[in-house]
Subunit: 441 residues, 2 copies
């Protein structure tokens, strides 16, 4: 594989990653001049607030808190963020608590109670900055009155086993929680709230990221009950859960706040980093380096190897017909693919994208496909993804490697490792799904 | 589904189909003025030739022959084309023979002998026009000396059962045939030969379309033997086949003509219609109707439903972010997807593409995905494909139709039939694979 095209791809990807690193992403959206804080174009006069409280949850929340402290200097009054074990970084005024992820635990619930205590007497003269990132849903949790963490977990398990969709799962979970589905906004009103979001969900839907603690919820208790009925698990969930939802459906418990609810009057969400921002930064870097560039979609989903074949088809068109751009050219796509695991091999979705692209690239000169997990970890491997080009299959054949065998075994890692074509970045401390590049030199 | 966007998609598709209809495609590339025939920029002075012979094979070959007769008027001396049963059209100087497809039969072999007899005394003063289209490989066949059609068929069956790739299959078949793999060019030399190709193979590789009767072959007898050895079927094929290939490998039989061989000195291929031409015509029509348009790739392959998801992701990006084009916009893709059949339902690859796209489109206003087989027949159905838009899932739910159930059963036809969203064109008398449109109004 020619170094030049690979180096170019890596530089373009790195620019995308840099744009969504917590510090850079916050610095791009927040600017302070003396006691005026501008957040994505709106000014907040820090001197007019009684308190500036920083709260949050997610794998990047400690990193984000540290960055906020640098930006706000002495203006942070207090704060607490909850992050995954091992994801703490040093902070000054904002406390950092660690808890379990992806399965929630009692430490997360205790930290959430601590976080809510900070908001005990909210006032119009409070400014609350909420830092959300991937993992927030498990880390920030307070079961609704009368329920336990075990109740919530058993319900989630039953829904997943039954094959519920993510939207169905969320309709139920939001009605069993004191913080999800806009309930956290109840605890902050009437404070001024700015939710700063590093999105790990394709398309960045505010009601899905971290289960939308400050976002309106359009589902109801009745919807939650209907989901249980649809999958015939009304009797499989803990009795307390059914009792809770039925009481809610009778109007005996407060609904999650709906769109237009007064609790959201002073709540604003700002996506400080997401896949679209990373992809746009890739396009800008490609253009800065003299390539023509297009962002095709940030909503890519689907079976990884099949998405890879489409990327191969895009590369072949660039090379063969100079469409949609005359080379040197770069197409940028983002999203998150999935892998239907059938084998017992090692690999990740981005490595399967690259392997799926290899056949379509075979024999093409000076083209390259790179698929990368922006958090640096693709599946359970130490690689972030892999490179494929027109020489991949021939070099593999020379080593006795059969791409079909490796695909059948979900075993892309050893394939690309043998070729020296793994992408290794190490942990990036951010996560905005995956970025895919198609280059023609 | 709003009629306007669907009508627009249909009009754009129709422009693509019109561009590759045999008559239109030939008329676009061939122009006659008195006795000068210009073919894609090169002039042939018909008066200088002793004979103008028209030969060919494929599902569109009779249609193409009729069009050639209109274009050349009295200048056609003689000719014969072989087409599939039921695909004849009236002609004047060019005889039409029908034979079996996709399985070859004795009628095809007899017609091929008749066709070769027309070329019995080739001269530099002959102009031979060769009309090739999809199906030509089965229809035009003469087993090599000492072999029978049954030998060829048994070998093909063994290779397919063993899982050989199309390239491996062709390496063997070209060495068992007197016409495939450039061997027909031997029969025409030293005549001037123009091969007019309506391509049904993604990417239009000349050595693959109709098994490349007039195209150089880069494979050898040794390659063919290696394929049999690789799949351990050397003893499973008829003994005469093995004997033939071994004699060839020893140099006792002529090799297929290789790139640079003198037999190709006066042979020229012109792709008069292929997926790229249809797709380009779709782009031109979209622009004529005031849309921004881009051709993304004409090499699309992969599992139909997964390709559909990518199309859904492209539509969502158009609608949400106006990328890569600000609406009103049209993205055009071409190629041919495949379906891994797991259920017993009715449908076709293009209908599965549309069904795969539906979820990603759900709730989006004024977007549409259309996937269409350019021959008008998608799988074993009377539809050419289907439309999907942001209302597809909701309208299906109202009718009690579950897209996941229909996908699992490979049963897209009844799904779209119930919605009134099938695309029905009837037979188009051409075939340049599939065209996919992604529209945002």
């Amino acid at each position: 594989m020619p170094d030049s095209l690979r180096d170019l791809a890596r530089a373009i990807l790195d620019a995308g990653l840099a744009a969504v690193a917590p510090h850079a992403a916050l610095a791009r959206h927040l600017r302070r001049h003396h006691d005026t804080l501008a957040i994505a174009g709106i000014a907040y006069h820090l001197g007019t607030y009684r308190r500036v409280v920083v709260i949050g949850a997610g794998k990047a929340s400690a990193e984000m808190a540290a960055a906020i402290e640098v930006l706000l200097g002495p203006h942070v009054t207090a704060g607490l963020v909850i992050t995954k074990d091992g994801h703490s970084v040093p902070t000054r005024a904002v406390a950092v608590r660690e808890a379990s992820h992806p399965l929630p635990d009692a430490r997360g619930v205790a930290a959430t109670a601590e976080l809510l205590a900070l908001l005990a007497t909210p006032s119009e003269r409070d400014l609350v900055l909420v830092l959300l990132s991937g993992g927030g849903s498990a880390l920030l949790e307070q079961p609704a009155d009368g329920l336990t963490l075990a109740d919530l977990q058993a319900t989630t398990d039953a829904l997943l086993r039954a094959g519920a969709t993510i939207n169905e799962l969320n309709a139920v979970r939001k009605h069993l929680s004191a913080v999800k589905g806009g309930n956290l906004a109840r605890a902050t009103a009437p404070a001024t709230v700015v939710v700063l979001v590093l999105s790990d969900v394709v398309g960045s839907p505010l009601d899905v990221i971290a289960s939308g603690p400050c976002a309106p919820d359009s589902t109801t208790y009745a919807d939650a009950l209907a989901v249980l009925a649809r999958y015939q698990i009304s009797d499989a969930v803990p009795p307390a859960v059914r009792v809770h939802l039925e009481a809610g459906a009778r109007g005996e418990r407060p609904e999650t706040p709906k769109p237009g609810d007064a609790v959201f009057a002073r709540v604003r969400h700002v996506i400080i980093g997401d896949n679209a921002q990373a992809a746009a930064a890739c396009v800008a870097e490609a253009e800065r380096r003299g390539l023509r560039a297009l962002l095709l979609s940030t909503f890519i989903e689907g079976e990884a190897r099949e998405v890879g074949r489409v990327l191969g088809a895009l590369a072949r068109e660039l090379r063969t017909h100079g469409r949609p751009l005359a080379p040197p050219a770069c197409l940028v796509l983002g999203g998150e693919t999935t892998v239907t695991v059938r084998g017992d091999g090692r690999g990740g979705r981005n490595q399967e994208v690259a392997l799926g692209a290899a056949r379509g690239l075979a024999g093409l000169a000076d083209v390259l496909v790179l698929s990368a997990a922006t958090d640096g970890g693709d599946g359970p491997t130490d690689a972030a993804g892999a490179f494929a080009d027109g020489t991949t299959l021939a070099r593999a054949a020379a080593l006795g490697l059969d791409p079909q065998v490796h695909l059948a075994r979900n075993d892309a890692y050893p394939f690309f490792q043998a070729l020296g074509d793994l992408l290794v970045t190490g942990p990036t401390r951010t996560n905005v799904n995956d970025v895919m590049l198609v280059l023609a030199g």
